[in-house]
């Protein structure tokens, strides 16, 4: 297990390094000079020169890459040009909206998908199964931001149960914060839950047809017990893969959903930065999100090993 973890950790570090190079290079190929790009075409020569100096653009590319990378390792993401404050502060304020949103949505999606998928698999071919498959087929096709707008129309505008957008801040209390994140989280979670429920069902059906489940049934275990004790755990591997992949969709989705609900999260920050041409913020937020995705996939890999001991030996 230790060797397996170390190997995974090594490839995690390599992935992060390569990802940081890719991001740096893409932002670097900005047509012309980043300072000119950020200030626009009407900027004065000396203003551009001052910004070049401030951004450290006069150093070589390798020095700048190293500066960016070593800065990030100690939590220094540079200074935003438009906000005139450290990027780490900007991120720190907003991550407490985006991260809870993605996590609540992921939890919600899993909590909905597991029972539904298990129910459909255990009653394969029944009306229940058919309805689940039909509903999830529809759920997969619904864009989360449109679903969000429909939720706003029903629950905020017509029923007035929730605010149609905005975030009061966690200072207003846990309940107020959670309430503001409820509709966004549901909008994010339901389409993903549809995918996850389908995967859960398929995976469970696959394991239910395996010999060891038949043996368990032959030993006299009831169908429900065989499912709970033997099939479920073995069906989890593909489901975990999808949950890991879903996290990256949740983060990306959260960025879009934040726009529907005017939530002050990383998504709003990144789009504001794009329109203000604040490349330093864009670069760092993208890196942070990619880091999150890679980290989650690393954790999923480790979880595999916990669920399936065979993987520890094979890798």
């Amino acid at each position: 297990m230790l060797r397996y973890s170390l190997k995974r950790l090594f490839s995690l570090v390599i992935s992060l390094l390569v990802a940081s190079i890719v991001i740096f290079v893409v932002i670097e190929i900005v047509p012309g000079d980043p300072a000119t790009y950020m200030l626009g075409i009407n900027a004065q020569e000396d203003t551009i020169a001052a910004l070049r100096e401030e951004l450290g653009l006069n150093a070589t590319k390798i020095e700048r890459y190293w500066g960016w990378l070593s800065g990030m390792m100690v939590g220094d993401f540079g200074t935003s040009y438009t906000y005139r404050s450290p990027v780490s502060e900007l991120i720190g304020d907003r991550i407490w909206v985006s991260l809870p949103l993605a996590l609540i949505a992921l939890t919600l999606s899993t909590a909905i998908a597991f029972p539904i998928g298990i129910l459909a698999a255990s009653r394969r071919g029944s009306v229940t199964d058919m309805s689940v498959m039909g509903a999830t087929q529809l759920g997969v096709a619904i864009p989360n931001f449109w679903f969000a707008m429909i939720l706003v129309l029903i629950f905020a505008i017509n029923l007035r149960w929730f605010a149609s957008g905005g975030f009061p801040g966690w200072d207003e209390g846990l309940f107020a914060g959670l309430k503001a994140l409820t509709l966004p989280a549901i909008a994010l979670a339901l389409p993903q839950a549809s995918i996850l429920a389908r995967v859960m069902r398929t995976s469970l059906l696959d394991t239910l047809s395996e010999d060891f489940v038949r043996t368990a049934r032959a030993k006299g275990l009831s169908k429900a017990k065989a499912l709970r004790r033997h099939a479920l755990r073995n069906a989890l591997i593909p489901v975990l893969t999808i949950i890991g992949l879903q996290f990256s969709f949740m983060l990306a989705g959260a960025i879009i959903i934040e726009n529907v609900f005017y939530l002050p999260g990383l998504g709003r920050l990144i789009f504001q930065s794009i329109s203000q041409r604040d490349l330093i913020v864009v670069e760092s937020v993208v890196m942070l999100l990619v880091f999150a995705v890679i980290l989650v996939n690393f954790l999923v890999d480790l979880t595999y090993a916990l669920v399936d001991p065979r993987l520890r030996g094979r890798q």
Binding site: V22, I29, G125, Q137, V140, R201
Partner: protein
């Protein structure tokens, strides 16, 4: 209803019926949308670029079947032209993904575990860490928003999907006898991949292509919703939704129709993909 209740006893028959049902249903939906997109090339009920302020925000009725937006533009016409944008972006993005991903996957499968295989597969993993939205954000931050950038972003996202799929499928084919005979006959890896492997994985690619197509439609809608996709005056479903958002309380029809268009198109493509899978590849069971 009786067919449904008999299902556990006759799964194969039910599956076939359901399979062809989903194929025909999906196909019907797609034909309608492709037809609409094609017709919009030569004719739309109203001009989508001309503004008609006195007629703004009309509810669905006649002659504006789906009502008008805040500039008095006909929503039905915009949906038709928007279908064109969605389909064009998604088709080209799938083309990029297949065009680059399949050769990469086939090349990786020639010698599994080789240096080339490692490089290609690790590259794949890396691209997987960038959701399409993040790729689009980076491209847009550098080159500005536009339909082309949306295509590139979704296309890049598709590459590893096709690379993994074709590598996996090709690996098992390389061990088969007919490939061995081709090798004995003196054919090189390039020719074998092209003449023997590719035709045998084509079915899989078509099915996956349909799925990526539907994901592409969703991604395009999302990107244009946040302003990273097609720019005005080109109508796109995502941007129609973005524009409708502030008017949703008094003109919900503006938010309804583009959303339904997206859902139906994606649903149609997914149903078609499921149906195609049953017909083209009987080995793969239809459950996902």
């Amino acid at each position: 209803m009786s067919t449904v209740n008999n299902a556990p006893r006759k799964p194969s028959l039910l599956r076939m019926v359901f399979g062809s049902l989903s194929l025909s249903l999906g196909l019907a939906i797609i034909v309608v949308f492709f037809g609409g997109a094609l017709i919009s090339l030569i004719w739309t009920p109203f001009d989508v670029t001309s503004l008609d302020i006195p007629n703004k925000l009309k509810a669905p009725g006649f002659p504006n079947l789906m009502g008008t937006d805040h500039f008095g533009r006909d929503v039905f016409s915009m949906i038709l032209v928007g279908a064109r944008t969605s389909i064009a972006v998604a088709v080209v993005a799938v083309g990029i993904g297949m065009g680059l991903g399949v050769p990469l996957g086939l090349a990786a499968a020639v010698r599994p575990g080789s240096f080339m295989d490692e490089v290609i597969m690790r590259g794949n993993d890396l691209v997987f860490a960038f959701p399409a939205l993040l790729i689009a954000i980076m491209i847009t931050a550098v080159f500005g928003p536009g339909a082309i950038n949306a295509i590139i972003a979704i296309g890049i996202f598709n590459i590893p999907v096709f690379a993994r799929l074709s590598r996996g499928a090709a690996l098992s084919l390389w061990t088969r006898d007919f490939v061995l005979s081709a090798r004995v006959a003196g054919k090189g890896p390039l020719r074998i991949s092209y003449e023997h492997i590719l035709p045998n994985i084509l079915n899989l690619l078509i099915v996956q292509g349909t799925i990526q197509f539907s994901l592409g439609i969703l991604a395009e809608a999302g990107l244009s919703y946040v302003g990273l996709g097609a720019q005005p005056p080109i109508p796109s479903w995502g941007r129609m939704l973005a524009e409708s958002q502030t008017m949703i309380s008094f003109a919900p029809h503006l938010a309804l129709f583009p959303g339904v268009a997206i859902v139906l198109t994606v649903l149609g493509l997914n149903l078609m993909g499921d149906g195609l899978r049953d017909i083209l590849d009987p080995k793969i069971r239809r459950e996902r």
